[in-house]
Symmetry: C2
Subunit: 403 residues, 2 copies
Amino acid sequence: AIDAARLIARLKALGDTGRDEAGRLCRLAATDADRVGRDLLCAWLGEAGLRIEIDRIGNIHGLWEPEGASGDPVVMGSHIDTVIDAGIYDGCYGVLSGLAVIEAMQQAGFRPSRPLAVVAYTNEEGVRYAPDMMGSLVAAGGLGTDEALATVGSDGTTLGVELACIGYAGTREPGFLRPHAYIELHIEQGPILEAEGTPIGAVENLQGISWQRITIAGMANHAGTTPMAMRRDAGVAAGRTLAFLDRLARETPGAVATVGTIRFEPNAINVIPSAAIFTVDLRNPDEERLKGQEIALDAFLKKLQGEGFEISTERLARFQPVAFAPEIVTAIEASAAERQLSCRRMTSGAGHDAQMIARIAPSAMIFVPSKGGISHNPAEHTDEADLVAGANVLLDVATKLSR
Amino acid sequence: AIDAARLIARLKALGDTGRDEAGRLCRLAATDADRVGRDLLCAWLGEAGLRIEIDRIGNIHGLWEPEGASGDPVVMGSHIDTVIDAGIYDGCYGVLSGLAVIEAMQQAGFRPSRPLAVVAYTNEEGVRYAPDMMGSLVAAGGLGTDEALATVGSDGTTLGVELACIGYAGTREPGFLRPHAYIELHIEQGPILEAEGTPIGAVENLQGISWQRITIAGMANHAGTTPMAMRRDAGVAAGRTLAFLDRLARETPGAVATVGTIRFEPNAINVIPSAAIFTVDLRNPDEERLKGQEIALDAFLKKLQGEGFEISTERLARFQPVAFAPEIVTAIEASAAERQLSCRRMTSGAGHDAQMIARIAPSAMIFVPSKGGISHNPAEHTDEADLVAGANVLLDVATKLSR
Ligand SMILES: NC(=O)NCCC(=O)O
Ligand SMILES: NC(=O)NCCC(=O)O
């Protein structure tokens, strides 16, 4: 079994690094705060005697290659970057559990026939640099390394420059490590497992994700003197788009829609906004329905264009739904059964690195319950018993795959 | 007649001061850019031999007290602060025309029985510090000087500190100068005069203004995993409020409504907004209808509260409609008639310093056409002939009132 106390202590210690002046956890990708977290992780990987390899996109690999082990490694991983004002479990739990699994194997004198590795992928959250899951996407060959490094962030910085600044622009070529299999343990970040009282989720697929940035341009004018009929108020047009997307998602089976960021120009109290710039996050487990959401949004924006607004859209991310490797999903169910933990197959609502790595290796995910379904929020919580149970299921599956 | 060429040249020179790196005119109240504009104005006031007096709220007075003149002065004025990315006429036209009128009187050897003054009031726009028309409001006794100086701006600064920084925290007590009458010449900032081909507007009243800052608090959660039915998305609630206010204003006679500024928290692409903070600008020439708009907004926010949102509102400004002094309005009409300029009585859609000074002195305004009704926009434009005609009407009215 994994060392439960150490896993919990490390989760808390990592959760305490990279907080801002207001105490908020803001370990955004490639920031100084991210560096502090990365340094801590590397210290722990080193203590476990793992060989640390960092690739050009900043993915951190800890490799355990004991005598007698050969071939492609069994990889466990996730990410340690966070959103703004995040909880401590999202991502970190999967990385630290992967490390705990290797340490448990070492402790038990287990002699795998394949190497094992734990990976922390760069910029999974996508808050600073789009698309999300960038490090794993690059490792899977879905995006060129140089193109990814040239990404300009929401704060105007360039990822490659920032990675170099924090000392995590590695030299290995992304994808240098080809997983025999990839297993990602993660908090559910949704309400299902807790509501059902089920401690283990065997994730068999993951919904499609569509991210865009939309700019609606109208015309600035005086808030007091401009009759309603003579306005082209970009803010109102954006407000109507938000209300429309919300209604559409409520009417479309499986759909969710979120406008997480917005900005008006010139952003003055008595000036009609000349422009509204906002992001749209659409998701659906069904590709056709996701396409339908995108088409409906396009049609709504066309209607606004007909009213005199200029619209431009920028694609930030587009991932189709992914089906995970059935044999790993089955192995997760088998482990849960042996450990007498109830388990259910499920879909992931969040994007994950496993979604990218699934392009190059058999992959699957293990979920544990999230209290109240809350994530991307400091109130994110999973009970310790659930955290430990999930890590032990990861141990079983990794053992089976590397035996 | 006023010196037309000098007026136009000064308008352009002042319009070229205080531009940002992008070339935008952003002479927001009490900024470094405002100082440059103020310094230029003071230089011109000095050249005309006027006595410059600056009060504690930073209002700049240029006094002409020729021999034989006594009693309260006839005051002409407006403001020289601007919105973000402004045009060059709003405010500056009234101040520079007031100066041109005094210079024309000096030139003509006119011997007024009363002193004349030109005033540039601090922070008329209200973009950096609310409420708008702050300098004239303080001068009229509607807001305590110390309270006004303690105002914290949209950028977190304090007005009193900023005024001191730019060297315009004067020593005179606001209100030290009691106008015998106040006349403000201004561009219309709306479409009526141009549409009608009327060069002069005699402004007989000014609509009521209601400014609030509204905070809608919902709950941050993951954009991918949180089912639509379990969301409290503050951004969507804000979007619905924008659409509601727009609809309401279109249905209410005389009403306009504008949401000029907005901000989401935490403002991340894949996080449901926990809060939306935005300003609301409601106006109506009819006080009862304006109250009706406020009540309808309250009711809408109550409905959102019923859906689980927390709402807080902050009052930024509230001014009732104002009726101007009929004898000055008549004098404006008489001057226009003498000069064979067509003229119409009208309502002001914008707030103006005259609205505040009307509390302590007979006041009125002269409007000239705005091309396309565009203001608070760099495309703001008034033809030179119209600018000169308006300034000459101001000369006539000031002459009459100070004779
Ligand atoms: N797991 C997770 O929060 N990933 C971030 C990417 C996304 O789903 O928005
Ligand atoms: N004239 C003018 O633009 N005043 C600013 C105050 C306002 O009406 O919003």
